[in-house]
Each structure stands twice: as structure tokens, then as C-alpha cells.
Symmetry: C2
Subunit: 418 residues, 2 copies
């Protein structure tokens, strides 16, 4: 294609830009409101070995005691404490050693008065004894043990259910499973767990200038960076990305993509108010375009709405704006739907700004920065199209809506990308 | 099995415990020394879409310019700046609009003096022009544009390679790939990347009292918690866990497992100095048992060494000790071999201790804690066998080797498990 000599019918609208922009705070409030009323995702069964990092769909109540037997807490001798009355280093009491107890094995002999059994940490306590005498409080031979101290009944062994008791809720619905949770679930016999389904996120990338990932850029065509980037971001946030390829830049193809089965729809490109920007008008016609144009830079043309009852986030095609718009709005949606906390995965540290940054009051700015030895320096970049500025940056700072910026030497909060 | 009446030959050694323990600091220094001299893992090719979080095996040098054309940075009109000399709001200069430029399309007309072309952000600049006049500095109709300001040449369009130039190293070897890195790699045409192989970690779990994960505990048998937990920890740290099941508690089976192909071997259970503790003696006989017994609690019986030139970490069978021993030593090894930073993934916050904690000088202690509204309270737990204490805890604190503990009200650093 090439030269077009007829200006499009709505040139004025396109060129005018956004008449009014919503503040970031109001846009977030709208989003949270949508998410508050979103139905919870259904559950699915995951093998225990694949469930770390997943979100529990229901409380897990133990059907068993852990352990289901009394177990020695140290190496020593299983004894009847009454036998040791008066024992001391000066006047040891001598017991006959009649066997050994190992973990996982039931000692099947009877322990009568005056007898003891050597016992290992973790071994079940034999019947007839009521305490474990630590090896440090003995002298012993193969056949005899000399107790150098008295002992109260109940000493040095763990009770049935000391870890978990039948009926205990070991982990509650909503828990993001940690490695040790996997261990505990295994210990109560769970080979699989009911976890929340991951939110399915349809990534709709449009733009006739785009080549699919894996192509080499050619001529005035550029390769889709946003699709692969958004897929990685969605996966990071606990979602299941679906990005089957570039969607042709026409209304029918875009509308069909918007209506595919998904829990959230993220669009990249065509989100602004130009004539090629079909997505907002399609959303307004076939769903609800609730927010369009936000007082922020980059990603000002971001929009949000619903189609067929599902959340749609319109992200700018410029990749820096796409990344920031995702992090600020879409990430929150994916995490909330996935049942996770909305916090970013970025560590925060403070640093001293090496250069003044100004920003108009009323607009929230995202500034990529270098962070070296506590010094925070804005990354030089010509604009929101230079994605490599976000890979050169160690992190970013935010200039809030109500701030006019920071002077040189200010201590600022840096979100680190690592 | 059951009662055994013959005390084992090395009862004295078993019961005596560790004669001397290495400090945590010295054990870490030994480990770091091992890791410094470990050969780097080989590279493998990963599809771009699966490479987020992987570690780059080599520098990535761009073969292309991004973009490979001059592109408009805003909506407006592509003009010859010389035509606009003297233009102002009071004395606009009028140009003829002869077409439109869209992203991804070459405008194939010639722009002669007195002419302009409407242009969209991201579109390639037509030949013959040298600036983009922002729409805000115009009044326009379908056929004419009135420039309300002068313009220097070179204004408002991005140069060839403004993002990335041919030959630029866009990302360096060792980079843990971020979502935006995936975008940048896509933009230069990389459909796959060379990443470090994940370290293969053989998890050797022994103990005749253990049932495999997925079983219900029965009698005095308990279910393997450490294997699934260690697998999740290894995966978290960028390793590839291999835990095919419980290894029978005999020397031949354990030795065979220790000699399986792997980059690191983690053993759980049988790590202490008892007669059932085959692993240290096997390691001493067939490899090197360099460290055994560390001045820490829990996980004091931890050992480290080499077999067939590969690192072996002997972790205690008690699951709390296993978790802590993993985090303190094995995690460091897996991360280093995977090419990642050794930092824990745990956030740190400060809090006020509600209760005195004492610890002998010379020993490092790991204390699970509850953290609520800035108050740090040690978790009540009977011992290292109660794994649920680590799932109830919000995090942990460390009492360093040279500290005798903290008094009530001390401000302590908490590592959060979430």
C-alpha cells in the first residue's frame, strides 16, 4: 500500500487528541471496582509437584495426624521414668538394654520395669515407656545403660499430631503455595491439590506495520515486541497468555479477537483516537469503553472497558508505553483475577536523584532510571518507542499525579527491574 | 522389621555426636570456593517465548537497526522545513496536502516544495521532507495545511537505529531475561536464544520410615515431605530437580544415587553420625566429605563434600532443618551454578521483637516468626520436625554466629516467606 490522497472522514477527531483525561487514581479506582465484582475463577486439580506458586482454591483440612505416633525427639533411651527416681551422676540407676528402635519400625517387645530400649530421633516410642533419656545423661554399654539423672514422664518425645492433627486446616484458600507448603501437603498425603485456574489472557496485537515474532525486521516493517513481552508479563503475574499472532488491522478481525473466549483481553496498538485506531470505537459500539485517555506519561492513550462482560485493557502500541500501561493497570487485573496480591514483583530502594525532573501537576510520569551506588539518573531516551531504554534501565521512578517533580539531590524511591 | 537386640558396632561414635563444628561463615567460604572453581554450565537453545527468567549464555549483538527507517514521533504533517520560514500564528504558511503516511507503508510519491503529507506516529518519513510539523501547530482542511510556526530540519522524527543499531550488544551474557528483554530480542528478530542449561539437581531422599509423596501416612511410616519441598525450592532457584523417589536405606542404593549424572547432589536424611547415617561415610569413602557438622540450629548435622567432582550437600531429614539447610547452603549453590544472583527471594522488613531470644555465641540460629503490625513473635514449635511451623510463620530471623540473641523490643530484620 502507499499514498492515500483522501483524508479520512474523522480527521478532526483524530487530530484533536483526548479532550479530557482521567487521573491514574480514578482509573485505578474504576479498575478495582470492576475486579471487586468479577466472578472468582473456577478451580482445577494440579499434581502436587506442579503446584508451587499456584493459588489454593479451598482450605486444606488434614485427614491424618502428623505424626500418627509418639516419636523420639533425640537419640537416647526409651525408659519408664519411674525407674529413674533418685538417679544422679553420683548414684546412677542401671537399666537393661533390650533392643533398639529405628524410625519407621515398631518395636514389638514389651518393656518391663528395669528395662530400656535404645532409640533414634524420629523413631516411634515403644509401648510401656513414658520418656526418652537423652544420651548425654547416660553412660552405657551394649547391654546396660546407667542413667545419670531423673526424668519426668512425657520428656523428649513428640505427641501424636504434634505437627498436624486430624481436622486441622493446614493451609487456607487463597494461599500462594510456597515450597514448604508443598512439603506439608505431601506429609498429609495430598498427591494433588485444588488450585485456582489461571486467568486466560487474550493478547490482541494489531498493526499492519508488524511482523510476527521470529521474523527479521524488513523495510518499514517492525517485529512485534509487545506480544512476546506481554506474554512474559502475564505469565509472571500468574496468568495464561494467549497470543496466537498479529491480528489484521481491520474491524472484523479485531472484533472477532475481542470476542474470543478469555478472562481478560489486552489489546496492543490501535488504542488511541486516530482513524486507524479501531479498538476503542469497536469497544464503544459492541461493549463499553469506560475510560479512554489517562493523565499519565507514557501510555496516556490507554483505555479500559468491557466486552461481553469481560475486562478489556487497551494498551498503546509504543512498547515502552505498553510495558508501563501493563504494569500499572493490566498487571493489577491479572494478579487480582489470579488470586494474588497486587504488589509488583519489583524490589524498592531509595536513591539520590542526580538531575532535576519536572512533570506537570495533574499527570503521573514513569521515568526509567539508572541506579548506581545510590545515585539515580534518568535514562536518556527519545520516547516511548525506544524499548531498549527499559532494558538499559535498572528500574524506574514514579512522579505522582500531584507532584511537579523532584529537584536534584532529592531522595526518591526506585522500583528495580531485576 | 522390629526389635533388634544387637547394638551396632559404632554405637559410641553415633551417640557422641559431632566433636567439632565448623562455623556457618567458614562453611559458606568453603562452598563459595567450590563454586568459584565449578565449570560453567553449557548453553542450550530456548524458544524466545519460553526464555523469560532464563540466563543468557552469550552476548546478543543486533544484526539490524531498530527501526531501519526514519519514523514520525507524533501525528502531524511531513514537511520540508525550508517551506515554513517565517511561519507564525499571525502569518501562517499554507502547504498543499498531497497524501497520508501510515505505519508500515512506504509513501511512494515525491514531495516537492509547497507540499506536505499527513503522517501518523510510527510511520516512515517520505523522501523529500526533513521534519514533522505537529498537528497542534497547524490548522488544516482536507487539502491544505496552515503551518502556525517555523520548524528546524530534523524535528519530530526518530533516526534510523534510534532504538538499536546494527552491532549493538543489546543484552549481555549472564542476563536473567526480563519481560522487556523478550520484547527487545523479538524486535531484533531473535526467535530463540542461547541460554545457560539449568543445573540438574539430583535429590536423594533416604529413610526406611518414608512413604513416597502421594501416599497416605500409615502406622509409624511418614510421607516424604522433603523431596517435594526440595524439588520446589530447586525449581525456584533456577535448577532442574530430579527426585525419582525414595532411595532404599542401604549403602549400595545410596552410592548408586550419589553417582547418577547431575550437577549437584542434595541428600536428605541419613546425614548425621548415627549407624543408619550411611551418606557421610559413603561420601568419605568414595569422594570427599569436607564439612560435617556446622555450628547452627537447626540443621547442625549438615555436611558438604564432593563425589566424582560434583558438589554434594547432605541435608538433615528433619524437614525444618532440611528447609533451612537448603536455603542457607544448597540454594546458594543452585543459584550460582544457574548463573543467578545468590540473594534469597525473600523480602526483608524490620520489626520489633515481642520476646527475648537467646542463642549461644558461636552458633547461628534460624528462628521462625510471626509478623503482625510490625511486631515479631517467635513461632511456638517443639522442634525441627514440625514443618507446619514454617507454613504458619510469616518469615524468619537469623541470630548470627557472634550474637547471644536479642532482647525484647529489639528491632530485628525479618525475611518474609511470601
Amino acid at each position: 500500500m502507499s499514498q492515500s490522497s483522501k483524508p479520512h472522514p474523522n480527521a478532526d477527531v483524530r487530530m484533536r487528541g483526548f479532550v479530557e483525561r482521567v487521573t491514574v487514581e480514578n482509573a485505578l479506582a474504576w479498575l478495582d471496582n470492576q475486579l471487586d465484582s468479577a466472578p472468582a475463577l473456577s478451580a482445577e486439580i494440579a499434581p502436587l509437584g506442579e503446584s508451587a506458586g499456584r493459588v489454593l482454591a479451598e482450605d486444606i483440612r488434614s485427614q491424618v495426624n502428623v505424626p500418627d505416633f509418639e516419636r523420639a525427639m533425640m537419640d537416647g533411651f526409651a525408659v519408664r521414668s519411674a525407674d529413674l527416681q533418685g538417679a544422679s551422676a553420683e548414684a546412677p540407676v542401671t537399666l537393661k538394654v533390650i533392643g533398639e528402635c529405628f524410625p519407621g519400625q515398631i518395636f514389638d517387645g514389651a518393656i518391663s520395669a528395669g528395662c530400656a530400649v535404645r532409640i533414634m530421633t524420629g523413631a516411634p516410642l515403644p509401648t510401656g515407656v513414658d520418656a526418652v533419656l537423652p544420651v548425654e545423661k547416660t553412660k552405657y554399654s551394649e547391654t546396660e545403660v546407667h542413667a545419670l539423672a531423673e526424668l519426668s514422664p512425657g520428656k523428649n518425645f513428640g505427641s501424636v499430631g504434634e505437627d498436624i492433627q486430624v481436622g486441622d486446616i493446614v493451609l487456607s484458600a487463597g494461599r500462594v503455595l510456597r515450597p514448604q507448603d508443598i512439603g506439608v501437603l505431601s506429609s498429609i498425603g495430598q498427591g494433588e491439590v485444588s488450585v485456582l485456574r489461571r486467568p486466560r489472557v487474550r493478547i490482541v496485537v494489531t498493526g499492519d506495520e508488524l511482523l510476527p515474532a521470529g521474523s527479521l525486521p524488513e523495510g518499514c516493517q517492525i517485529v512485534d515486541a509487545n506480544g512476546p513481552m506481554l506474554s512474559a508479563l502475564v505469565a509472571r503475574d500468574g496468568g495464561e497468555p494467549n497470543h496466537p499472532g498479529i491480528v489484521p488491522d481491520n474491524r472484523d478481525a479485531i472484533l472477532a479477537a475481542l470476542r474470543e473466549d478469555a478472562d481478560v483481553i489486552l489489546c496492543s496498538g490501535g488504542s488511541s483516537v486516530g482513524q486507524e485506531d479501531h479498538v476503542p470505537t469497536l469497544l464503544a459500539e459492541h461493549g463499553e469503553l469506560e475510560i479512554h485517555g489517562i493523565a499519565m506519561r507514557p501510555a496516556g492513550p490507554l483505555g479500559m472497558g468491557r466486552i461481553d462482560g469481560r475486562l478489556v485493557v487497551l494498551l498503546p502500541g509504543n512498547p515502552v508505553a505498553c510495558l508501563w500501561g501493563y504494569d500499572l493497570f493490566a498487571s493489577r487485573a491479572v494478579r487480582r483475577l489470579a488470586g494474588r496480591p497486587t504488589d509488583w514483583p519489583y524490589r524498592q530502594i531509595e536513591g539520590e536523584l542526580t538531575k532535576e525532573i519536572t512533570s506537570p501537576v495533574g499527570r503521573l510520569d514513569y521515568i526509567r532510571v539508572h541506579m548506581k551506588r545510590g545515585q539515580v539518573e534518568p535514562v536518556q531516551a527519545t520516547g516511548a518507542s525506544v524499548l531498549s531504554s527499559t532494558t538499559r534501565a535498572e528500574g524506574f521512578i514514579i512522579i505522582p499525579t500531584d507532584s511537579s517533580g523532584y529537584s536534584t539531590g532529592s531522595i526518591v524511591n526506585v522500583f528495580l527491574y531485576d
